[in-house]
Symmetry: C2
DNA sequence: TAAACTGTTCGATCAACTACGAACAGAACC
DNA sequence: GGTTCTGTTCGTAGTTGATCGAACAGTTTA
């Protein structure tokens, strides 16, 4: 059919606005090396540019899918289905309004070399 | 003997300056309900005023001791032995210099009612 | 000296998190 | 049609973290 807006493996992703995210949840979401990579790479990309599989992380897709779910629940990202792939955007403004400075802190920190080891 | 400056159960506590604390460690330290209470109560008290046992937290002393160790390793608090008790202070300025805005975020957030349940 | 108090450490338990492979489902491509 | 690509879900395994009670070691008080 015409333009595709459907899903990949299942229904549309459930989102949570940063406004409804508890501080503890936001901190926990960011206290993980893999998710930090995702957030930083996302911040360096344009909205809706990156699909889930396009990130350079040392985990397989099952774990990756889980991490994206956590970021979604923490109000950090928004996802949209585009054909077979699911594209992402960082909720910069909304998240920063809810937790002023937190995202800046994460993004200004130079990534620690070597994730595992 | 004269003035006591010794320990409670063991040697002097090991500290870590916020400068040497990784962002991930700071976030993880703050992503816990008990430790959030400790930090907030500490912020509302004067330096060296509060002993470890003087906090209103729903855990026993073994767990409490562990939480203080985590806060110490995260550069969030400083401890000093004063006779039988160990007194604390929040490293406001140093921590804020290392992670600008993070502590403010934690302290401006209204404590979520009901820690467990 | 003995008892009470404060806090640490040990060992065990239990819950939560992270990870993987396999199976699945829709989209795109041949 | 079938194959490949993308991502989710499931079941499971390993790791980490929080918690407790008990034992311990100083300090203080009686």
């Amino acid at each position: 059919m015409g333009t595709a807006e459907t899903a990949a493996g299942r229904g549309a992703p459930e989102h949570r606005h940063p406004r409804e995210v508890p501080l503890q949840g936001a901190l926990a979401a960011l206290a993980d090396p893999v998710r930090l990579i995702l957030v930083r790479e996302l911040a360096a990309s344009r909205d809706w540019e990156r699909s889930c599989g396009s990130f350079d992380v040392p985990v397989r897709k099952a774990a990756l899918s889980h991490h994206f779910a956590v970021l979604r629940e923490a109000g950090l990202i928004e996802q949209r289905d585009s054909g077979a792939r699911r594209v992402n955007r960082l909720r910069r403004a909304e998240f920063d309004a809810r937790f002023p400075g937190l995202l800046d802190l994460v993004l200004s920190e130079k990534p620690d070399r070597s994730i595992a080891e």
